[in-house]
């Protein structure tokens, strides 16, 4: 059996029975996906996905980084170098290479997501292997050509109530326009991710500022015009359904400079090559500016700090961004967030959702902060920690101090569209397992656990993201 009905539940029979009950009451709830990276073009154009390798292997960094770590070249996985010189390998060859290394994913969430998808979306019951690679390929490939496997049909089949994509302020949001005008009932919204015009270290930052000005008609060479451009694009994004912004900075640092100092800083970073210290300071200042705008316009603010992007210099040169070479770093929150919190931390109309790639911050910094400041909430276990043990640690390390109600339910945060049901299912199962253990150890009564399970699976995400 590829997916067992009791997977991820506690092994003790009494806890398992409770987990089953809890899960039964939440497993069919609609999927609320308030933060993710699926491509809005899919929903706009509703074209068939090309083939199994291009759908599953090529774009999934979880998959390619593991294969790469074991000495397999990215070119052999169908990933094209920037210079475009290489001929892409046959998708079936890519699939076979992947299938013959499927054992590498033992113990990883990738394995669980894939098995869940293979079983529930495509009806497989046998584990993927070198032996059945072709049979797998053929069945998936055939299915993808049918109308039932088009993006919108899958959206409905997956029971998605709402999904957010993530776009740059420079994005014209045409796909979102197309979706809206199409008359299709699926709710696809955008989210405002301004890193390309906020982070001086982002590739093309200064060109981006120019385009930002062109798009908005604002004078983005001036501090006031630059801020006004943000206000305009935030409004434009809200018109396309956005209820949140998202900020992916190297650190959680915030700053609250005087207007004159902020203006001078903006001049430095927008004209010269910014020093690393100026770049960090500008990102810090902009978190506070974004919070100020959120107080005005009600957008929920997400902070995803602590990733060392493109750590693998060679790979970045050859293949560009997002090639699996992003590595977490130690992340400090208590001092870093203070300037922002000094201004807005006590504002209970503001909602800032904190994420981390540094699990040491859960119990030491994040739960104490979120369990105190009205403006702060905790996002779910993120990225490498979006996995059974990672999710368990998140609950064990945050609940005793922040409770359940300073958290915001689950985010899938994925571009792997077909894995979305698997990811939400995993989160629901792990939370039910956690709750079942609380019940079995008489820390929570079962009627309460049912309510919490429902909140974690559905209600908190809707409310926290104002969906």
């Amino acid at each position: 059996m590829l997916v067992h009905e009791d997977r991820l539940f506690p092994s003790d029979p009494s806890s398992r029975a409770i987990a089953r009950n809890l899960y039964a009451s939440v497993k069919d709830l609609p999927i609320v996906s308030p933060h993710g990276h699926t491509d809005p073009r899919w929903y706009a154009e509703n074209e068939a996905f090309p083939d199994p390798a291009t759908l599953f292997v090529v774009p999934d960094h979880y998959i390619s980084r593991m294969l790469y770590s074991q000495g397999i070249r990215l070119e052999d996985l169908g990933i094209a170098p920037r210079n475009g010189a290489a001929t892409a390998p046959d998708p079936r060859a890519v699939w076979r290479l992947f299938a013959s290394h499927y054992h590498l994913y033992r113990g990883t969430p990738t394995r669980l997501w894939l098995d869940h998808t293979f079983a529930t979306v495509f009806g497989f019951s046998e584990r993927l292997s070198a032996q059945n690679a072709d049979a797998y390929y053929d069945r998936i490939d055939a299915a993808l050509r049918t109308p039932e496997f088009r993006p919108r049909a899958l959206f409905e089949r997956f029971g998605i109530e709402v999904i957010a994509t993530t776009e740059s302020p420079l994005d014209p949001l045409k796909h979102h326009d197309t979706i809206r005008k199409s008359g299709w009932s699926g709710r696809v919204i955008t989210a405002y991710r301004p890193d390309p015009v906020i982070d001086p270290d982002f590739e093309g930052f200064r060109d981006n500022l120019v385009r930002f000005g062109e798009l908005t008609g604002c004078d983005t060479a001036s501090w006031n015009g630059y801020l006004e451009a943000h206000r305009q694009r935030r409004a434009f994004f809200r018109d396309h359904g956005a209820t949140s912004t998202d900020h992916g900075h190297p650190s959680a640092r915030t700053m609250d400079l005087s207007k004159a100092d902020a203006e001078a800083l903006f001049r430095r970073v927008s004209t010269d090559a910014a020093s690393p210290a100026d770049a960090e300071l500008f990102r810090a200042q902009m978190l506070t500016e974004m919070a100020a705008m959120s107080v005005e316009d009600g957008m929920v603010m997400q902070i995803h700090p602590g990733s060392f992007r493109n750590h693998n210099a060679d790979l970045f040169r050859t293949f560009g961004r997002d090639m699996g070479g992003d590595i977490p770093t130690r992340t400090e929150y208590v001092n870093a967030l203070k300037p922002l919190l000094d201004r807005f931390g006590n504002n209970s109309n503001l909602s800032i959702i904190l994420f981390t790639l540094d699990e040491t911050a859960y119990s030491r910094e994040l739960a104490p902060l979120a369990g105190h400041y009205p403006a702060l909430k905790l996002g779910p276990a993120w990225w490498f920690f979006d996995a059974p043990e990672g999710m368990r640690r998140f609950r064990e390390l945050t609940t005793e101090t922040a409770g359940f109600y300073n958290t915001v339910g689950f985010n899938d945060d994925t571009r792997a569209y077909l894995s979305i049901p698997a990811r939400h299912d995993m989160a629901r199962r792990v939370d039910c397992a956690f709750l079942a253990n609380l019940v079995t150890s008489h820390r929570l009564e079962e009627d309460e656990a049912h309510e919490v399970a429902h909140d974690l699976a559905y209600r908190l995400a809707k409310e926290a993201y104002k969906l």
Copy 2:
């Protein structure tokens, strides 16, 4: 049932049976409370507690910070701003507000302490809720007017063998005098917490130095006189039962300056506004001076480092200290303690008990240090970690390196008097659960587990604190 007899035990039946046996042999042991913050006035005056809200809600930061994090104003919880302008709300209104948000505490130790207190002290069997808030209020309120609920009666009912309070060197210890002269048999002792005259960043530090001189007749404007004042007050505290000192510094840093350098440093911090570096250096030096005095007078030394006090600037301005805005920070021990350890670490007559708010230090720094230096012992899981998962992590992360016998049993460290039995009960249960798992996995034999359970519940606290 509000409290289940098997709460906090492992779910596996064989481990649970062992945990039950272990717990049965320690549950009725007297309570030794070597470190805490109850008010000695209670025992001295033995007056009735005013009402349920003033007893449970107003002074408990665990309770108020959670409500505050969800947007409830502190004023509405009966917490008075410094300016005193606001009229205090009706205690019953405070209680109702609290009761209607009782679900926020799901999964937190506060919930477990409260349920335990409600059940065992007041006889409730139904969970607190908006519906039964008044019934709860009335029953508790009525009980508090009876002699059985006066502080001394509760002390005896709780089975407290000895309890330590914590006082500033500037405190005249009158309540302790009153207790002693009253002829009452309860053993209430003080502990020496010199932060107000050691920490240059403490409010009123320089005024405190003046009062310190007046109290002792020492010239606290000179380094020698200042040290002599400490010696005198330590002796005075010992006369009032104190066996320990306690030090709540932002970091664990220690220093061992020459006498001339220490003298110059003292001059700087006691006359001018100290620089942050001088303030940190002075606290560091004073830990070593306090250790030197402990070597002389035998007082056990407790270090509670790593809290960023009054992080919430607004709340501090409006309400003052201790409003739930204290947040843990990363804390380093290995380099920080070296100057002190270089002088006294190998002295097995000295006993320094280390605490932490940074759990990463348990396995990396604290257990290796305490498992080596004769002068060091580990205090129990502290503050946010005084909770079932926090206590479990403490044992899992320290025992393999430091064993059980470099730890000192449990501290409740609380000002919430009625929660004391609940807190000790939680610690005993979690330790019995931990031991039961060792027995079930054949890492420890059951006869040994019984001995360790007794040591952790009673003997180690008495011996480590010389009680």
Copy 3:
């Protein structure tokens, strides 16, 4: 019963049954010990071990540091001060002292290793105590005089397929020569540990450079000659079976200087007293140089960073190195390794095995790095974490991101020869328990778990270390 057949297995009966099955299939596999500190003289000379105290107590820092932490003097454990003045105590007195404190080891791996050794090597069935100390002593002492307890006989009895010792480049490897020439079939190899000629803070560093030159005939006063001396000694070590190098630096810092800068740095550290910054920089540069040589000669590179050596200044003065006063410190990898990884990280012919004493790095840094870079693998839970909970955390914190196949099986890393079977047995049991939990929670199928158990117990160590 001193050792139970189900020890370290999950308590839940269904998981325990699976763990038993998995363990049954790996428990008798040969021992591959690719990294450790046994004395090659034992295998070369094959003399009887002297007595129980000298064999078990005197050289084992796990044992002596715990006793020392409880106020027992090292001299009373038979550990001689540097000045040699003290008369060594009677071994039987040492043994009695140890036995009467055996309860201190409850909950520690030392206890489990010792019990396993006492039971399986010497046939004891009763727990060591003050009461049976003499009986223990007599039986062990008698056994040690028999041929069956000589080092080579034990080697065979333990089922060791290959064991690596660790030597300085200055070591003539005479014992390894003797072993090879003896005709004995046991495979004992060396490993290249160049800290004495790489770390400017190592005692006698500059003298060591001189001897390094004498041994190799290279001009070790010049950068080129110094590097050439390394190449020669690495070849010499390979001739004595070495397949790996090992580097025990205070941090994981690496550097990639220009040749001119490296040359200048070498001049500074080899002639003057190096500044701490120069010393750190030189160690950093040498990790990259060693990696470059590994690319050439195929030796596997081990990095064991993050120990603050000889933290206890007094003990170091009186007794010298390695007296239990080594304490872990916070260790950063992501920035530290970048210079080396920029040069060699994508080379899948290079194999760098990373260890840590800072468990916070497992999920945040090490698993993401090893799950991406072809040149990186993760060593097993090290030193204080080579224990059941430590090993469990290692798997829980690394597997979801790095999988099993970026890890390298088990290292015993010990000088306690008789504990080697116990240590490998512990690792096998803990891994089987971890796998059983994956199976019970339906994250892995049982046939796969069998394959992984075999890989972790045997195959991965052989392959990763090229044995």
